[in-house]
Symmetry: C6
Subunit: 75 residues, 6 copies
């Protein structure tokens, strides 16, 4: 399965970079747990737990740091 | 929905950069859980839990690291 | 409320940079939970829990990494 | 046992870099717990826990940051 | 109280840099919880918990990353 | 006790760098808890817990990031 959509870290804008960060995180999780039904059930659960949401936001922050550096911060 | 307010990581000052870091973290969480009522209920809960507050502060620190680098630390 | 005391990441010494890292972390938490009484109650709790102290120390380490880079490591 | 497949961080594409990040994380865990049966049992468990999946995704993000820097972000 | 022993991140060797990383982490925790008796009681507890030890090791790794960069990796 | 085996971050290959990352993490933990019997008991416990293994893998990833940078990613 695809891990990096478009096979590139380069995006036109920070907004697109951020969307890519979210996708990278999701694809990681999908690669570890390919069963979509299990993922859906888990999502119902964790998306109501503040601590889980904060942990997910942390992964997005880490992925975004790499993408932002790859794009020289869109200067 | 918008992930990067203003679609830029560049801010005039560290203070504005820090405010952007807080917003990035919040928008991540909003993107994962779009239901505002669920978010409000979660906020009531986690904002009284020291461990949750520390975890949220960690996400802000990570987002800020990227923003600070993007702004060459406002030299 | 103020997020970055002095609105600058530049400090004269590592010691002052470290103190700023502690303040940045505290101001993050204060921005999320503005009620000082709730924060005081939480502090009583978490400051006796080793795991919470370690998590807080991690946030300080992350903030300090950014401040140290901003100051070119005080060379 | 081998920790870095191919003994190199250089990959042709971001996709291959991401796959390497996943492998690095898995080989770390395998090095700490060499018993494959224990790992299989653990996988059944954690791959249904959203918090565990998020934590695993965080490790992949960290490994990928290093690999992406090593490849100069595939510019 | 002192947060950065010697008020410098520069050390002669990686070994001394690592020792400084451990001290930085300890001083953070001491700054948050100044009561030595509480810290000693906490240490008895967390130093027997694998998860706490791993979390503490993570803080040391983060502090060391900053110190290593400050010393240009002792090249 | 020794924290950085060989007192250097420089290794010949990524594989050796990875092995050093594992050692750095272990030596941190050993420095915090010098009693080998306590460590052995803890290892029995955490090495069967997926969440603990993931947390340990995260520390290895962080140490490796520093070592990889120190070696200019073995280019």
């Amino acid at each position: 399965m695809e891990l990096v959509p478009g096979n590139s870290l380069i995006t036109k804008t920070p907004e697109e970079g951020r969307a890519l960060a979210v996708l990278l995180a999701r694809h990681s999780i999908h690669a570890i747990q390919p069963d979509v039904e299990v993922l859906k059930a888990g999502r119902l659960k964790y998306s109501k737990e503040p601590d889980s949401l904060i942990a997910a936001a942390q992964v997005v922050a880490l992925e975004f740091a790499t993408i932002a550096a790859a794009n020289n911060y869109w200067h």
